[in-house]
Protein backbone atom coordinates (compact mmCIF):
# COMPACT_ATOMS: atom_id res chain seq x y z
CA UNK A 1 0.00 0.00 0.00
CA UNK A 2 1.37 3.38 -1.02
CA UNK A 3 1.68 6.32 1.37
CA UNK A 4 -1.56 8.33 1.52
CA UNK A 5 -1.77 11.54 -0.45
CA UNK A 6 -2.50 14.51 1.79
CA UNK A 7 -4.69 17.08 0.14
CA UNK A 8 -6.25 20.43 1.02
CA UNK A 9 -9.90 20.52 -0.07
CA UNK A 10 -11.26 23.73 -1.56
CA UNK A 11 -14.39 24.87 -3.39
CA UNK A 12 -14.42 26.74 -6.73
CA UNK A 13 -17.16 27.22 -9.33
CA UNK A 14 -19.53 25.44 -6.92
CA UNK A 15 -17.46 22.21 -7.13
CA UNK A 16 -15.08 20.39 -4.78
CA UNK A 17 -11.40 20.27 -5.67
CA UNK A 18 -8.26 19.21 -3.84
CA UNK A 19 -4.67 20.42 -3.91
CA UNK A 20 -1.68 18.29 -2.96
CA UNK A 21 -0.41 19.82 0.31
CA UNK A 22 3.13 19.36 -1.03
CA UNK A 23 2.61 22.42 -3.23
CA UNK A 24 0.64 24.50 -0.75
CA UNK A 25 2.79 27.14 0.85
CA UNK A 26 0.22 29.13 2.81
CA UNK A 27 -3.44 29.95 3.12
CA UNK A 28 -4.41 33.58 3.52
CA UNK A 29 -7.33 35.96 3.57
CA UNK A 30 -5.59 39.11 2.34
CA UNK A 31 -7.29 42.35 3.31
CA UNK A 32 -6.08 44.26 0.23
CA UNK A 33 -5.64 43.33 -3.40
CA UNK A 34 -3.98 45.43 -6.09
CA UNK A 35 -5.32 45.11 -9.66
CA UNK A 36 -2.94 44.29 -12.49
CA UNK A 37 -3.83 46.21 -15.65
CA UNK A 38 -3.28 44.21 -18.82
CA UNK A 39 -3.15 40.85 -17.03
CA UNK A 40 -5.32 37.92 -18.26
CA UNK A 41 -8.90 38.15 -17.03
CA UNK A 42 -8.53 35.22 -14.58
CA UNK A 43 -5.72 37.08 -12.79
CA UNK A 44 -7.47 39.00 -10.03
CA UNK A 45 -4.49 41.11 -9.00
CA UNK A 46 -1.59 40.98 -6.60
CA UNK A 47 -1.66 40.47 -2.83
CA UNK A 48 0.99 40.62 -0.16
CA UNK A 49 1.72 37.32 1.60
CA UNK A 50 4.33 37.30 4.37
CA UNK A 51 6.13 40.25 2.81
CA UNK A 52 6.06 38.87 -0.76
CA UNK A 53 3.93 40.06 -3.72
CA UNK A 54 1.86 37.15 -5.05
CA UNK A 55 -0.31 37.15 -8.21
CA UNK A 56 -3.81 35.79 -7.56
CA UNK A 57 -5.55 33.51 -10.07
CA UNK A 58 -9.31 32.99 -9.78
CA UNK A 59 -9.49 29.20 -9.77
CA UNK A 60 -13.06 28.99 -11.09
CA UNK A 61 -12.34 31.40 -13.97
CA UNK A 62 -9.09 29.61 -14.78
CA UNK A 63 -10.95 26.28 -15.04
CA UNK A 64 -13.67 27.86 -17.20
CA UNK A 65 -16.31 27.44 -14.49
CA UNK A 66 -18.86 29.99 -13.42
CA UNK A 67 -17.81 31.59 -10.15
CA UNK A 68 -20.46 30.93 -7.47
CA UNK A 69 -19.20 33.39 -4.85
CA UNK A 70 -18.56 32.09 -1.39
CA UNK A 71 -19.14 33.02 2.23
CA UNK A 72 -15.57 32.15 3.10
CA UNK A 73 -13.27 33.19 0.19
CA UNK A 74 -9.53 32.68 0.63
CA UNK A 75 -6.29 32.56 -1.30
CA UNK A 76 -4.24 29.35 -1.34
CA UNK A 77 -0.62 30.16 -2.16
CA UNK A 78 0.97 27.37 -4.15
CA UNK A 79 4.63 26.82 -5.04
CA UNK A 80 5.65 27.14 -8.64
CA UNK A 81 8.60 28.91 -10.19
CA UNK A 82 7.11 31.89 -8.39
CA UNK A 83 4.51 31.51 -5.63
CA UNK A 84 0.98 32.01 -7.04
CA UNK A 85 -2.26 32.49 -5.12
CA UNK A 86 -5.36 30.52 -6.11
CA UNK A 87 -8.52 32.34 -5.15
CA UNK A 88 -11.16 29.86 -3.93
CA UNK A 89 -14.78 30.23 -2.81
CA UNK A 90 -14.33 28.25 0.41
CA UNK A 91 -11.72 26.29 2.30
CA UNK A 92 -12.24 22.67 3.30
CA UNK A 93 -9.88 20.57 5.40
CA UNK A 94 -6.67 18.62 5.09
CA UNK A 95 -7.51 15.02 4.22
CA UNK A 96 -5.61 11.84 3.45
CA UNK A 97 -6.51 10.06 0.21
CA UNK A 98 -5.31 6.60 -0.75
CA UNK A 99 -3.48 7.03 -4.12
CA UNK A 100 -4.88 3.72 -5.40
CA UNK A 101 -8.41 5.01 -4.91
CA UNK A 102 -7.86 7.93 -7.33
CA UNK A 103 -9.13 7.67 -10.90
CA UNK A 104 -6.74 9.38 -13.32
CA UNK A 105 -8.53 11.83 -15.61
CA UNK A 106 -6.12 11.17 -18.50
CA UNK A 107 -4.52 13.56 -21.00
CA UNK A 108 -7.79 15.41 -21.54
CA UNK A 109 -8.10 16.04 -17.84
CA UNK A 110 -4.46 17.02 -17.53
CA UNK A 111 -4.98 19.48 -20.39
CA UNK A 112 -7.75 21.05 -18.28
CA UNK A 113 -5.60 21.20 -15.11
CA UNK A 114 -7.36 18.16 -13.56
CA UNK A 115 -5.29 15.22 -12.33
CA UNK A 116 -7.62 12.61 -10.80
CA UNK A 117 -11.00 12.02 -9.21
CA UNK A 118 -11.28 10.72 -5.61
CA UNK A 119 -14.03 8.25 -4.57
CA UNK A 120 -16.03 11.08 -2.95
CA UNK A 121 -16.08 13.02 -6.26
CA UNK A 122 -13.43 15.56 -5.24
CA UNK A 123 -11.11 16.31 -8.15
CA UNK A 124 -7.39 16.59 -7.42
CA UNK A 125 -5.92 19.49 -9.40
CA UNK A 126 -2.71 19.60 -11.38
CA UNK A 127 -1.17 22.84 -10.16
CA UNK A 128 1.46 23.61 -12.80
CA UNK A 129 -0.94 24.00 -15.79
CA UNK A 130 -3.13 26.24 -13.65
CA UNK A 131 -0.35 28.73 -13.00
CA UNK A 132 1.89 28.59 -16.08
CA UNK A 133 -0.33 30.85 -18.18
CA UNK A 134 -0.91 28.46 -21.08
CA UNK A 135 -4.43 27.94 -22.47
CA UNK A 136 -6.50 25.22 -20.74
CA UNK A 137 -9.28 22.93 -21.90
CA UNK A 138 -12.62 23.74 -20.23
CA UNK A 139 -12.85 21.68 -17.03
CA UNK A 140 -16.63 21.26 -17.22
CA UNK A 141 -16.35 19.16 -20.38
CA UNK A 142 -14.11 16.69 -18.53
CA UNK A 143 -15.93 16.84 -15.20
CA UNK A 144 -19.37 16.28 -16.70
CA UNK A 145 -18.18 13.71 -19.22
CA UNK A 146 -18.32 16.04 -22.22
CA UNK A 147 -21.58 17.58 -21.11
CA UNK A 148 -22.57 21.20 -20.89
CA UNK A 149 -19.77 23.66 -21.17
CA UNK A 150 -20.00 26.27 -18.45
CA UNK A 151 -17.62 28.80 -19.92
CA UNK A 152 -14.30 29.25 -21.54
CA UNK A 153 -11.10 29.12 -19.54
CA UNK A 154 -9.44 32.49 -19.65
CA UNK A 155 -12.80 33.94 -20.76
CA UNK A 156 -14.07 37.45 -19.97
CA UNK A 157 -13.29 38.53 -16.48
CA UNK A 158 -16.26 38.31 -14.14
CA UNK A 159 -16.06 40.69 -11.24
CA UNK A 160 -16.71 39.09 -7.91
CA UNK A 161 -18.24 41.05 -5.09
Amino acid sequence: MQDSLKVLRVRAGGRDFALDVGVVRAIERPAHRVRLPGAPPYVRGVVEVRGQAVAVVDLAARLGLTAQGGADPAVVVVDSLEPVGLSVEALGDVAAVAPESLVDLGPRGHAAGLRARAPDGTVVLEVEPLVDGRPLEPAAAVLDGGGEREGRPEGPDEERP
Binding site: L8, V21, V24, D93
Partner: protein, 399 residues
Amino acid sequence: MSEPGLDADDEARPVPDGLVRWGLRADALGAEAARRGAEVEDRLGQGIRAVERAVEAQAAAPDALEGAEEQARRIEEIARETGKAAVRSDLLALNVQVEAARLGEEEQGLEKVGDDLRRLADQTTRGAHELEALAAGLLSEVEAARRAWGQGAAQLEAARAQLEWALRAAEEAGLSLSEARGAAAWFSAATGARAQGAREDEGDVEAASRLAAAAEVRDETINRLARAVAGRLQRAGEELDREAASADGVEERLGALERHLRQVRELVGAADEVARRSKQLAVNADLAAARATDPAFALFAEEARRLSEHAENAAAQGQVQLAQAHDELTASRDLARRHTEAVRRIASETTELLARFAEASEGDDPIEGLASAWRDDRVAARQLTEARASWRHRARPGG
Protein backbone atom coordinates in the same frame (compact mmCIF):
# COMPACT_ATOMS: atom_id res chain seq x y z
CA MET B 1 -77.95 92.33 54.77
CA SER B 2 -78.94 95.36 56.84
CA GLU B 3 -80.66 94.85 60.15
CA PRO B 4 -84.37 95.24 59.60
CA GLY B 5 -85.66 98.56 60.88
CA LEU B 6 -88.75 98.79 63.07
CA ASP B 7 -91.84 100.40 61.65
CA ALA B 8 -94.36 101.72 64.15
CA ASP B 9 -97.21 100.68 61.85
CA ASP B 10 -96.00 97.12 61.48
CA GLU B 11 -97.37 94.45 63.66
CA ALA B 12 -95.59 91.27 64.65
CA ARG B 13 -96.36 88.38 62.33
CA PRO B 14 -95.49 84.69 62.65
CA VAL B 15 -92.46 83.24 60.91
CA PRO B 16 -93.73 80.59 58.43
CA ASP B 17 -93.46 77.00 59.71
CA GLY B 18 -90.34 75.20 58.75
CA LEU B 19 -88.35 78.35 57.88
CA VAL B 20 -86.32 78.25 61.10
CA ARG B 21 -85.92 74.49 60.82
CA TRP B 22 -84.71 74.82 57.22
CA GLY B 23 -82.38 77.61 58.17
CA LEU B 24 -80.72 75.47 60.83
CA ARG B 25 -80.56 72.47 58.55
CA ALA B 26 -79.06 74.52 55.70
CA ASP B 27 -76.38 75.79 58.08
CA ALA B 28 -75.45 72.31 59.31
CA LEU B 29 -75.48 70.81 55.84
CA GLY B 30 -73.39 73.69 54.47
CA ALA B 31 -70.75 73.01 57.13
CA GLU B 32 -70.71 69.29 56.39
CA ALA B 33 -70.51 69.85 52.63
CA ALA B 34 -67.59 72.25 53.06
CA ARG B 35 -65.78 69.69 55.24
CA ARG B 36 -66.32 66.91 52.69
CA GLY B 37 -65.23 69.20 49.84
CA ALA B 38 -61.98 69.99 51.68
CA GLU B 39 -61.42 66.27 52.23
CA VAL B 40 -61.89 65.52 48.51
CA GLU B 41 -59.45 68.32 47.61
CA ASP B 42 -56.91 67.00 50.08
CA ARG B 43 -57.16 63.45 48.75
CA LEU B 44 -56.91 64.62 45.15
CA GLY B 45 -53.79 66.63 46.05
CA GLN B 46 -52.26 63.50 47.61
CA GLY B 47 -53.17 61.48 44.51
CA ILE B 48 -51.47 64.00 42.23
CA ARG B 49 -48.32 64.02 44.36
CA ALA B 50 -48.22 60.20 44.28
CA VAL B 51 -48.62 60.18 40.50
CA GLU B 52 -45.84 62.78 40.25
CA ARG B 53 -43.56 60.50 42.27
CA ALA B 54 -44.49 57.62 39.94
CA VAL B 55 -43.68 59.83 36.91
CA GLU B 56 -40.27 60.63 38.42
CA ALA B 57 -39.58 56.91 39.00
CA GLN B 58 -40.69 56.28 35.43
CA ALA B 59 -38.29 58.90 34.10
CA ALA B 60 -35.35 57.30 35.95
CA ALA B 61 -36.02 53.82 34.53
CA PRO B 62 -34.92 54.37 30.91
CA ASP B 63 -31.48 55.46 32.22
CA ALA B 64 -31.06 52.07 33.85
CA LEU B 65 -32.25 50.38 30.65
CA GLU B 66 -29.80 52.45 28.62
CA GLY B 67 -27.02 51.08 30.83
CA ALA B 68 -28.16 47.52 30.12
CA GLU B 69 -28.38 48.31 26.41
CA GLU B 70 -24.84 49.70 26.41
CA GLN B 71 -23.55 46.52 28.08
CA ALA B 72 -25.44 44.34 25.58
CA ARG B 73 -23.87 46.32 22.72
CA ARG B 74 -20.41 45.76 24.18
CA ILE B 75 -21.13 42.03 24.52
CA GLU B 76 -22.21 42.02 20.87
CA GLU B 77 -18.96 43.77 19.93
CA ILE B 78 -16.91 41.24 21.91
CA ALA B 79 -18.79 38.42 20.18
CA ARG B 80 -17.99 39.95 16.77
CA GLU B 81 -14.31 40.38 17.66
CA THR B 82 -14.18 36.84 19.02
CA GLY B 83 -15.76 35.61 15.76
CA LYS B 84 -13.03 37.41 13.77
CA ALA B 85 -10.34 35.91 16.00
CA ALA B 86 -11.92 32.47 15.48
CA VAL B 87 -11.68 32.93 11.69
CA ARG B 88 -7.99 33.81 12.10
CA SER B 89 -7.53 30.78 14.36
CA ASP B 90 -9.14 28.59 11.74
CA LEU B 91 -6.82 29.87 9.04
CA LEU B 92 -3.84 29.38 11.32
CA ALA B 93 -4.98 25.86 12.13
CA LEU B 94 -5.33 25.04 8.43
CA ASN B 95 -1.83 26.38 7.76
CA VAL B 96 -0.42 24.30 10.62
CA GLN B 97 -2.26 21.23 9.28
CA VAL B 98 -0.90 21.79 5.75
CA GLU B 99 2.60 22.31 7.12
CA ALA B 100 2.37 19.21 9.28
CA ALA B 101 1.01 17.20 6.30
CA ARG B 102 3.90 18.39 4.14
CA LEU B 103 6.43 17.29 6.71
CA GLY B 104 4.76 13.91 7.24
CA GLU B 105 5.62 11.57 10.12
CA GLU B 106 8.39 13.74 11.57
CA GLU B 107 5.96 16.48 12.68
CA GLN B 108 3.15 14.54 14.30
CA GLY B 109 3.14 16.87 17.32
CA LEU B 110 2.51 19.79 15.01
CA GLU B 111 -0.31 17.94 13.26
CA LYS B 112 -1.99 17.41 16.61
CA VAL B 113 -1.61 21.12 17.45
CA GLY B 114 -3.20 21.95 14.09
CA ASP B 115 -6.13 19.57 14.69
CA ASP B 116 -6.72 20.93 18.21
CA LEU B 117 -6.50 24.50 17.01
CA ARG B 118 -9.04 23.85 14.25
CA ARG B 119 -11.50 22.18 16.63
CA LEU B 120 -11.10 25.06 19.03
CA ALA B 121 -11.61 27.60 16.24
CA ASP B 122 -14.82 25.76 15.20
CA GLN B 123 -16.06 25.79 18.77
CA THR B 124 -15.17 29.48 19.18
CA THR B 125 -16.93 30.37 15.91
CA ARG B 126 -20.11 28.59 17.00
CA GLY B 127 -19.90 30.20 20.45
CA ALA B 128 -19.29 33.65 18.97
CA HIS B 129 -22.29 33.30 16.64
CA GLU B 130 -24.47 32.11 19.49
CA LEU B 131 -23.24 34.97 21.70
CA GLU B 132 -23.90 37.49 18.94
CA ALA B 133 -27.44 36.14 18.47
CA LEU B 134 -28.03 36.27 22.22
CA ALA B 135 -26.70 39.83 22.45
CA ALA B 136 -29.01 40.82 19.56
CA GLY B 137 -31.90 39.17 21.43
CA LEU B 138 -30.88 41.04 24.57
CA LEU B 139 -30.95 44.33 22.68
CA SER B 140 -34.39 43.67 21.23
CA GLU B 141 -35.68 42.75 24.73
CA VAL B 142 -34.28 46.03 26.09
CA GLU B 143 -36.01 47.88 23.25
CA ALA B 144 -39.32 46.12 23.99
CA ALA B 145 -39.00 46.96 27.71
CA ARG B 146 -38.25 50.58 26.81
CA ARG B 147 -41.33 50.74 24.55
CA ALA B 148 -43.54 49.24 27.27
CA TRP B 149 -42.11 51.75 29.73
CA GLY B 150 -42.71 54.65 27.37
CA GLN B 151 -46.32 53.57 26.95
CA GLY B 152 -46.68 53.51 30.73
CA ALA B 153 -45.24 57.04 30.96
CA ALA B 154 -47.92 58.35 28.56
CA GLN B 155 -50.65 56.68 30.62
CA LEU B 156 -49.29 58.13 33.85
CA GLU B 157 -49.20 61.61 32.30
CA ALA B 158 -52.82 61.17 31.18
CA ALA B 159 -53.83 60.04 34.68
CA ARG B 160 -52.07 63.05 36.18
CA ALA B 161 -53.92 65.40 33.80
CA GLN B 162 -57.25 63.83 34.76
CA LEU B 163 -56.50 64.11 38.47
CA GLU B 164 -55.41 67.74 38.11
CA TRP B 165 -58.60 68.52 36.26
CA ALA B 166 -60.60 66.78 38.98
CA LEU B 167 -58.76 68.84 41.62
CA ARG B 168 -59.59 72.10 39.81
CA ALA B 169 -63.25 71.06 39.58
CA ALA B 170 -63.24 70.12 43.27
CA GLU B 171 -61.68 73.49 44.20
CA GLU B 172 -64.37 75.28 42.20
CA ALA B 173 -67.01 73.16 43.90
CA GLY B 174 -65.37 74.03 47.23
CA LEU B 175 -65.63 77.76 46.50
CA SER B 176 -69.25 77.38 45.56
CA LEU B 177 -69.89 75.34 48.72
CA SER B 178 -68.25 77.92 50.93
CA GLU B 179 -70.37 80.69 49.40
CA ALA B 180 -73.42 78.50 49.89
CA ARG B 181 -72.42 77.91 53.45
CA GLY B 182 -72.19 81.67 54.09
CA ALA B 183 -75.64 82.20 52.63
CA ALA B 184 -77.07 79.33 54.64
CA ALA B 185 -75.54 80.71 57.84
CA TRP B 186 -77.03 84.15 57.19
CA PHE B 187 -80.41 82.59 56.38
CA SER B 188 -80.30 80.53 59.56
CA ALA B 189 -79.41 83.58 61.63
CA ALA B 190 -82.16 85.70 60.03
CA THR B 191 -84.90 83.12 60.50
CA GLY B 192 -83.66 82.43 64.04
CA ALA B 193 -83.82 86.16 64.89
CA ARG B 194 -87.35 86.45 63.57
CA ALA B 195 -88.41 83.41 65.54
CA GLN B 196 -87.17 85.31 68.60
CA GLY B 197 -89.65 88.11 67.76
CA ALA B 198 -87.58 90.40 65.60
CA ARG B 199 -89.53 92.18 62.92
CA GLU B 200 -89.18 91.52 59.28
CA ASP B 201 -88.93 94.11 56.58
CA GLU B 202 -88.98 94.14 52.78
CA GLY B 203 -85.24 93.51 52.67
CA ASP B 204 -85.69 90.11 54.34
CA VAL B 205 -88.20 89.04 51.75
CA GLU B 206 -86.03 90.17 48.83
CA ALA B 207 -82.98 88.51 50.35
CA ALA B 208 -84.91 85.27 50.82
CA SER B 209 -85.97 85.41 47.16
CA ARG B 210 -82.42 86.10 46.03
CA LEU B 211 -81.18 83.25 48.20
CA ALA B 212 -83.72 80.92 46.65
CA ALA B 213 -82.64 81.93 43.11
CA ALA B 214 -78.94 81.63 44.00
CA ALA B 215 -79.60 78.25 45.58
CA GLU B 216 -80.98 76.98 42.29
CA VAL B 217 -77.88 78.16 40.34
CA ARG B 218 -75.52 76.77 42.98
CA ASP B 219 -77.39 73.52 43.09
CA GLU B 220 -76.87 73.09 39.35
CA THR B 221 -73.22 74.22 39.53
CA ILE B 222 -72.35 71.88 42.34
CA ASN B 223 -74.09 68.94 40.69
CA ARG B 224 -72.29 69.63 37.41
CA LEU B 225 -68.93 69.92 39.15
CA ALA B 226 -69.58 66.79 41.17
CA ARG B 227 -70.34 64.88 37.97
CA ALA B 228 -67.18 66.30 36.35
CA VAL B 229 -64.99 65.33 39.32
CA ALA B 230 -66.47 61.83 39.30
CA GLY B 231 -65.93 61.50 35.52
CA ARG B 232 -62.31 62.66 35.73
CA LEU B 233 -61.61 60.38 38.67
CA GLN B 234 -63.08 57.48 36.74
CA ARG B 235 -60.82 58.22 33.74
CA ALA B 236 -57.75 58.70 35.94
CA GLY B 237 -58.49 55.32 37.54
CA GLU B 238 -58.75 53.68 34.12
CA GLU B 239 -55.45 55.23 32.95
CA LEU B 240 -53.76 54.09 36.13
CA ASP B 241 -55.13 50.56 35.67
CA ARG B 242 -53.72 50.52 32.15
CA GLU B 243 -50.38 51.84 33.43
CA ALA B 244 -50.33 49.10 36.08
CA ALA B 245 -50.86 46.55 33.27
CA SER B 246 -48.03 48.19 31.26
CA ALA B 247 -45.79 48.11 34.31
CA ASP B 248 -46.58 44.39 34.64
CA GLY B 249 -45.47 44.05 31.01
CA VAL B 250 -42.23 45.91 31.76
CA GLU B 251 -41.55 43.62 34.69
CA GLU B 252 -42.22 40.60 32.51
CA ARG B 253 -39.83 41.95 29.84
CA LEU B 254 -37.14 42.55 32.42
CA GLY B 255 -37.64 39.00 33.67
CA ALA B 256 -37.09 37.77 30.10
CA LEU B 257 -33.97 39.95 29.90
CA GLU B 258 -32.61 38.38 33.04
CA ARG B 259 -33.19 34.87 31.67
CA HIS B 260 -31.49 35.94 28.46
CA LEU B 261 -28.56 37.26 30.43
CA ARG B 262 -28.20 33.92 32.24
CA GLN B 263 -27.80 32.22 28.84
CA VAL B 264 -25.16 34.79 27.86
CA ARG B 265 -23.38 34.14 31.15
CA GLU B 266 -23.26 30.40 30.42
CA LEU B 267 -21.82 31.13 27.01
CA VAL B 268 -19.20 33.52 28.35
CA GLY B 269 -18.33 30.79 30.87
CA ALA B 270 -17.72 28.51 27.88
CA ALA B 271 -15.58 31.26 26.28
CA ASP B 272 -13.53 31.24 29.46
CA GLU B 273 -12.94 27.53 28.99
CA VAL B 274 -12.00 28.12 25.32
CA ALA B 275 -9.53 30.81 26.42
CA ARG B 276 -7.98 28.39 28.93
CA ARG B 277 -7.62 25.71 26.25
CA SER B 278 -6.21 28.27 23.76
CA LYS B 279 -3.51 29.10 26.28
CA GLN B 280 -2.66 25.43 26.68
CA LEU B 281 -2.60 25.08 22.90
CA ALA B 282 -0.27 28.06 22.53
CA VAL B 283 2.15 26.37 24.95
CA ASN B 284 1.96 23.14 22.89
CA ALA B 285 2.54 25.14 19.70
CA ASP B 286 5.61 26.70 21.35
CA LEU B 287 6.93 23.23 22.20
CA ALA B 288 6.25 21.92 18.69
CA ALA B 289 7.94 24.97 17.18
CA ALA B 290 10.97 24.49 19.41
CA ARG B 291 11.31 20.89 18.18
CA ALA B 292 10.68 21.71 14.51
CA THR B 293 13.44 22.66 12.14
CA ASP B 294 11.35 24.99 9.93
CA PRO B 295 11.43 28.58 11.31
CA ALA B 296 7.89 29.13 9.95
CA PHE B 297 6.58 27.16 12.96
CA ALA B 298 7.83 29.85 15.31
CA LEU B 299 5.53 32.26 13.44
CA PHE B 300 2.60 29.86 13.89
CA ALA B 301 3.35 29.50 17.58
CA GLU B 302 3.53 33.26 18.00
CA GLU B 303 0.21 33.73 16.22
CA ALA B 304 -1.34 30.97 18.38
CA ARG B 305 -0.14 32.80 21.49
CA ARG B 306 -1.54 36.11 20.26
CA LEU B 307 -4.89 34.45 19.58
CA SER B 308 -4.94 32.81 22.98
CA GLU B 309 -4.29 36.20 24.61
CA HIS B 310 -7.10 37.66 22.55
CA ALA B 311 -9.47 34.89 23.66
CA GLU B 312 -8.44 35.44 27.28
CA ASN B 313 -9.02 39.21 27.07
CA ALA B 314 -12.36 38.76 25.30
CA ALA B 315 -13.57 36.29 27.95
CA ALA B 316 -12.42 38.59 30.79
CA GLN B 317 -14.09 41.61 29.17
CA GLY B 318 -17.22 39.58 28.60
CA GLN B 319 -17.35 38.70 32.30
CA VAL B 320 -16.98 42.37 33.30
CA GLN B 321 -19.65 43.55 30.84
CA LEU B 322 -21.96 40.77 31.97
CA ALA B 323 -21.55 41.67 35.63
CA GLN B 324 -22.36 45.31 34.80
CA ALA B 325 -25.31 44.39 32.59
CA HIS B 326 -26.63 42.16 35.37
CA ASP B 327 -26.35 44.98 37.91
CA GLU B 328 -28.11 47.41 35.56
CA LEU B 329 -30.88 44.97 34.88
CA THR B 330 -31.35 44.09 38.52
CA ALA B 331 -31.65 47.82 39.29
CA SER B 332 -34.16 48.23 36.43
CA ARG B 333 -36.18 45.30 37.66
CA ASP B 334 -36.27 46.56 41.26
CA LEU B 335 -37.31 49.94 39.98
CA ALA B 336 -40.01 48.41 37.80
CA ARG B 337 -41.30 46.37 40.75
CA ARG B 338 -41.45 49.39 43.06
CA HIS B 339 -43.03 51.43 40.29
CA THR B 340 -45.70 48.79 39.63
CA GLU B 341 -46.50 48.60 43.33
CA ALA B 342 -46.76 52.40 43.57
CA VAL B 343 -49.02 52.62 40.52
CA ARG B 344 -51.25 49.84 41.86
CA ARG B 345 -51.50 51.68 45.19
CA ILE B 346 -52.37 54.97 43.46
CA ALA B 347 -54.94 53.23 41.24
CA SER B 348 -56.55 51.63 44.29
CA GLU B 349 -56.60 54.96 46.18
CA THR B 350 -58.18 56.68 43.18
CA THR B 351 -60.82 53.95 42.95
CA GLU B 352 -61.50 54.33 46.68
CA LEU B 353 -61.75 58.11 46.28
CA LEU B 354 -64.15 57.64 43.40
CA ALA B 355 -66.29 55.26 45.49
CA ARG B 356 -66.41 57.73 48.37
CA PHE B 357 -67.27 60.52 45.99
CA ALA B 358 -70.02 58.44 44.38
CA GLU B 359 -71.33 57.53 47.85
CA ALA B 360 -71.29 61.19 48.85
CA SER B 361 -73.27 62.13 45.74
CA GLU B 362 -76.14 59.80 46.59
CA GLY B 363 -78.95 59.86 49.16
CA ASP B 364 -78.42 61.78 52.35
CA ASP B 365 -75.14 63.41 51.45
CA PRO B 366 -74.35 67.02 52.38
CA ILE B 367 -74.27 68.32 48.78
CA GLU B 368 -77.58 66.77 47.87
CA GLY B 369 -78.95 67.72 51.33
CA LEU B 370 -77.90 71.32 50.89
CA ALA B 371 -79.45 71.45 47.44
CA SER B 372 -82.64 69.97 48.85
CA ALA B 373 -82.59 72.49 51.72
CA TRP B 374 -82.30 75.27 49.19
CA ARG B 375 -85.21 73.85 47.24
CA ASP B 376 -87.21 73.86 50.49
CA ASP B 377 -85.95 77.38 51.18
CA ARG B 378 -87.49 78.47 47.93
CA VAL B 379 -90.81 77.11 49.18
CA ALA B 380 -90.27 78.83 52.53
CA ALA B 381 -89.35 82.09 50.81
CA ARG B 382 -92.52 81.88 48.76
CA GLN B 383 -94.48 81.27 51.95
CA LEU B 384 -92.76 84.28 53.52
CA THR B 385 -93.60 86.46 50.52
CA GLU B 386 -97.20 85.30 50.61
CA ALA B 387 -97.44 85.87 54.37
CA ARG B 388 -96.03 89.37 53.92
CA ALA B 389 -98.50 90.20 51.16
CA SER B 390 -101.36 88.85 53.19
CA TRP B 391 -100.27 90.89 56.23
CA ARG B 392 -100.07 94.09 54.17
CA HIS B 393 -103.49 93.40 52.72
CA ARG B 394 -104.90 92.96 56.19
CA ALA B 395 -103.07 96.07 57.55
CA ARG B 396 -104.33 98.29 54.72
CA PRO B 397 -107.46 100.29 55.73
CA GLY B 398 -110.42 98.52 54.26
CA GLY B 399 -108.23 95.47 53.36
